[in-house]
């Protein structure tokens, strides 16, 4: 967390009493979640625990059956399109790059819609976002179909950052990536958070990301969330949470957490 973030420890996203039902199946039951400005929070949970539905609810793509989501204290539905796009950026799991546009055009699309920037300057800003996301400038003229999985994620990152949003929602940012690309994405998330002070919400299964990048972790169990730091959650006696952080796959991630925290 940045020094700046600590000064204003204010809640930037607040989910109050969220209920989501699909037929008879209740996914979220009066779920409350507060996200603090400037933090990196991970949302974890088993398959089918409703992580993606929660993310969609938080960004206003899914209308909950009950409860509301407040962005900076305002109900999300009342925020206009242009304001919303300046406030939140979403990285979808498959990238969701528009296949009929080049990478650069993808990044410039929100600028073209919501700013008065001339095309030439849009291209300069797009080139900067590409470099920021760690992509070479000549990939800007490529179409998404010509990109590898890791590159799609990076390009989608660049597009999510197009208007410098205050909150970045990432849906499985490291899934389908090789470990090198995944660590690259992890480092990018940390850098964006530290330098730009962006609040980051990550939905992921990736234990390494959860333990090395996230300041707090919201675990979706029993239709509610348990939010705490990784160190506290590790000590939790809830069977699922215990299994999650002590399973055979957790050891390696714990190791990298120690290395990471040792260095930083």
């Amino acid at each position: 967390m940045t020094a700046r973030a600590k000064v204003h420890a204010e809640t930037i996203v607040s989910a109050r009493g969220i209920v989501n039902r699909f037929g008879p199946q209740v996914v979220h039951d009066k779920l409350n979640l507060d996200i603090v400005r400037g933090e990196i929070i991970g949302i974890a949970g088993g398959s089918g625990s409703g992580k993606s539905v929660l993310l969609k609810t938080l960004v206003g793509l899914h209308q909950p059956d009950a409860g509301e989501v407040l962005l900076k204290g305002k109900p999300i539905a009342s925020i206009g399109a242009a304001d919303k796009s300046a406030l939140i950026g979403v990285l979808f799991q498959q990238g969701a790059l528009f296949s009929s546009l080049t990478v650069a055009q993808n990044i410039m699309l929100p600028m073209r819609e919501h700013t008065t920037l001339p095309a030439k300057e849009q291209a300069q800003v797009a080139a900067m976002k590409l470099a920021l996301a760690g992509m070479p400038a000549d990939s800007g003229i490529k179409f998404p179909s010509a990109l590898s999985g890791g590159m799609v994620k990076r390009a989608a990152f660049a597009r999510a950052l197009a208007l410098d949003p205050k909150i970045l929602f990432l849906d499985e940012p490291t899934s389908d990536l090789d470990p090198i690309a995944a660590s690259g994405i992890d480092a990018l998330i940390r850098q964006l958070n530290q330098i730009l002070g962006i609040t980051v919400v990550i939905v992921t299964h990736d234990l390494t990301t959860l333990l090395t990048v996230c300041g707090r972790i919201a675990v979706l169990v029993d239709k509610k969330v348990t939010v705490d730091t990784a160190d506290q959650l590790v000590k939790s006696d809830h069977p699922w949470i215990h299994e999650f952080f002590h399973g055979p796959r957790a050891d390696g991630a714990m190791q990298s957490r120690k290395i990471n925290h040792g260095n930083g």
Binding site: T2, A3, R4, K72, G73, K74, I79, D83, A86, L87, S99, A104, M111, T115, T116, L117, P118, E121, A123, Q124, V125, A126, A127, M128, K129, L130, A131, L132, P136, A137, D138, G140, I141, S145, L161, L163, D164, K166, Q191, Q194, I195, L196
Partner: protein, 381 residues
């Protein structure tokens, strides 16, 4: 002093940073920036900063900037690179400057624009090349599918009766209502036109000949084939295409199962069985449509109509229609399956290939029909 509002509609919103405000002061070679330098105020900042040309030392005081985003930092970095001295950089912004100014920024290359007159030649060339490749593909695939189908028929244990009967049901039985309705309506359309055109010559009774012959020889089979191409040919492409995107086809190949044999052959056989049956059904429905027209426009009762029918048409008319059906079926199934197997990667290619399959199979049906018309005319059938 220029006070720039990012958004003219300064709605009373709590969202302070969403409507950032930038204040620019000074002129010539010294400016002071205060407020927010963000993407929303970037244009305003660029317009307000009029640097004098001969200014020896240009300075920009940014101590008053509360927020800077990456786009703002990019502008400041660019100015610094041009020799403007930035003063009063806040410690909290230093990391951002370091990040943005260190980036290896290269402009996004321009896509080479080809002049219009050359485009035409390029398009023609590409089109010709594609057409040649397309024709070769169709011929190759027809050959392969025919050989696999023949192979399966020679070795009946390779037949997949379950798959075939499923496809017969889907392409045949489910299509009965729509095809029956279409054939009935086409007969009525032809009947109306026939009566209108033949009445001045007193030959409106020949409408029965017109309807019966055209339904049996052409319309029954054409309507059925076009309907099946749109309905089942496209379904074949979509089914196989989705399997292709999910790597199911590759899984078959790895298991040593030939996709031609399990995916293409049952569909081809099923459609070759179904289309003649559907055509026969369409013929019957068309003739019923003819009976309806005779009753209402010619006052010829259905019984009289039935008596007239054998006088105006014979077995060869029915044969000509039914003979074409399995051939059309073969090509519709082949084209549908071929485009399904051609799907690569993404879901959008499923849609593209489906469109192509329908267009191509209807084109093939009509082209073959024209060919048969000439052939039967020469043969005198």
């Amino acid at each position: 002093m220029i006070n720039v509002r990012a958004n003219k509609q300064q709605v009373a919103l709590e969202l302070d940073t969403v409507h950032p405000t930038l204040v620019v002061r000074g002129e010539g070679d010294g400016f002071v920036l205060a407020g927010a330098l963000e993407i929303a105020t970037l244009v305003a900042a660029k317009h307000s900063l009029h640097w004098s040309k001969q200014g020896a030392k240009r300075t920009l005081d940014i101590a008053g900037l509360d927020t800077i985003d990456t786009s703002g930092a990019l502008l400041l970095c660019t100015l610094r690179a041009k020799g403007v001295e930035l003063t009063g950089t806040r410690a909290e912004h230093q990391a951002l400057f370091d990040l943005i100014c260190e980036l290896d920024l290269k402009p996004i290359p321009k896509v080479g624009v080809v002049p219009e007159w050359r485009q035409i030649f390029i398009q023609v060339g590409k089109g010709a090349h594609a057409a040649r490749k397309e024709a070769l593909d169709v011929i190759t695939f027809v050959g392969r599918a025919a050989s696999w189908t023949a192979n399966t028929l020679i070795h009946p244990h390779c037949l997949r009766p379950a798959a075939i009967s499923r496809h017969v049901a889907e392409t045949g039985i489910d299509a009965l209502p729509i095809i029956g309705l279409m054939a009935f309506m086409i007969a009525i359309v032809i009947g109306y036109q026939g009566v209108a055109q033949l009445r001045p010559f007193g030959g409106e009774d020949f409408t029965i000949n017109l309807v019966a012959v055209s339904v049996l020889r052409e319309m029954g089979v054409l309507i059925t084939a076009i309907m099946v191409a749109g309905r089942s040919g496209s379904a074949f492409t979509a089914e196989i295409g989705v399997m292709q995107t999910r790597e199911e086809v590759d899984a078959l190949k790895v298991m040593g199962i030939e996709p031609m044999q399990v995916l293409v052959v049952p569909r081809v056989i099923a459609l070759v069985i179904t289309l003649p049956l559907l055509t026969f059904f369409a013929d019957i429905m068309g003739l019923i449509g003819g009976a309806a027209i005779s009753q209402f426009l010619l006052e010829v009762s259905p019984t009289q109509y039935l008596v007239r029918l054998p006088q105006v048409v014979d077995g060869s008319d029915l044969f000509v229609g039914l003979f074409k059906a399995p051939i059309f079926a073969f090509f519709i199934a082949i084209v549908g399956c071929m485009h399904g197997l051609r799907v690569s990667g993404s879901a959008e290619s499923v849609g593209r290939e489906t469109t192509r399959a329908v267009v191509k199979s209807i084109f093939l049906v009509l082209a073959l029909d024209a060919f048969f018309s000439i052939l039967f005319e020469k043969l005198g059938v």
